[in-house]
Symmetry: C2
Subunit: 230 residues, 2 copies
């Protein structure tokens, strides 16, 4: 029997779940996944840890709420074709993760929670609109979701690595970082690593967003091949 329901705001500086979640998102955006601490949160909200725990069960729930809050913003779609809508949804998620890299870690473990489930639903609707036969719909939508989350997460991880290296060597741009990895691949023995050696150049010049969309199109092409008739 914890709480009965809402109350009128009794204080002007009243703590609320929304205010806590909003501040949590601020901290996460400012300092990454490690930046969210009940101590930092307490300081920012000028209160104690216990007060926060009265509104929020634990850190995991808080992270989930922050994820939902951010994901709720990046969702609306209306395009000409189902393919275009899938691309738009994918890009929306990609950009959201790019803007809030800590989302990656959240979505990685269990992409079927709350807001993420809503996105999965939207993807599935487009898969159905593409005429995929029933039994393959689940697989197709899952493949799309996993690729999108996985690719965007890796992009976020790269960005995080770049940011970390920049702290040690502030002039290292993302380009320079990619160039470094690329030269490393070029330096590999072509006998042992023919593929990496070959495509090292592509790594250096690739645009993350383009590559991401190309991957989505690849899966869309595979989905198209599932349709009964062309």
């Amino acid at each position: 029997m914890a709480s009965k329901a809402r109350h009128t705001d009794r204080r002007t500086d009243a703590l609320s779940r929304e205010r806590i979640v909003a501040t949590a998102v601020e901290l996460l955006d400012a300092a990454g996944a490690d930046g969210l601490t009940f101590r930092a949160l307490s300081a920012e909200l000028r209160t104690g840890a216990g007060a926060i725990y009265w509104h929020v069960a634990n850190k995991s729930e808080l992270l989930g709420a922050a994820t939902d809050a951010v994901l709720a913003g990046a969702t609306t779609v209306a395009e000409a074709t189902p393919e275009a809508e899938v691309r738009a949804l994918a890009l929306g998620l990609f950009d959201a993760i790019d803007e809030h890299p800590w989302l990656a870690g959240q979505l990685a473990q269990g992409p079927w929670k709350s807001e993420a489930l809503r996105i999965f639903e939207r993807l599935g609707q487009r898969v159905q609109a593409l005429g995929v036969p029933g039994p393959a719909q689940f697989t197709s939508a899952t493949a799309l979701m996993l690729f999108i989350v996985g690719a965007a997460s890796q992009n976020a991880a790269n960005a995080a690595n770049a940011a970390e290296l920049r702290r040690a060597q502030p002039d290292a741009s993302r380009t320079a970082l990619l160039a470094g990895e690329s030269t490393m691949w070029e330096g590999l023995d072509p006998g042992d690593y023919p593929f990496l050696h070959d495509i090292a150049g592509q790594l250096r010049e690739h645009d993350d967003r383009e590559q991401f969309l190309a991957g989505v199109d690849l899966i869309l092409a595979g989905i198209a091949a599932l349709r009964p008739q062309a």
Copy 2:
């Protein structure tokens, strides 16, 4: 100037990087990602934290070494066609992550490190063997890698969730857990969630391994469509 090279084993119970990594893998397998602690490791090895730090820089490096040690086992492939080899590689990774769920978290952040890079190379070789034109090779291999890691990771996350729930309610099988989620999807408003409502049955009956392979085949189909001529 840390160490000069090898020495003869001066003591019979000598600590070594290999022994540390092996014990770390044991702990990770036994108690998950949170089970690896320098304190637990010290106890298991009957030594102190400092001794471990002399052989290993920090926890992150230790996790990387554990990942490489486990991944080094699950790699060899020799099949009739490149497609079959891709499937075999994929299944190898899937099974490895299924057996060592903590791998998921490691591979999620930066799938281009050490042993993971070797797997990426192998995938790329098969993509080349499939006749994919040069510029699309990087994208195709990346899509495969991301889907494999993402799908296997989600599978591991589901398994972990199931294990956690089993602790509270020991009779809950994986089937029962899936059934629960499935019924939840069925209970959603078909107006708001037509897709989830539709495929709830598939979720209940699906086999993870089959679904995983179906996803790989989906991407392979998309890759096949990239070839200049059929």
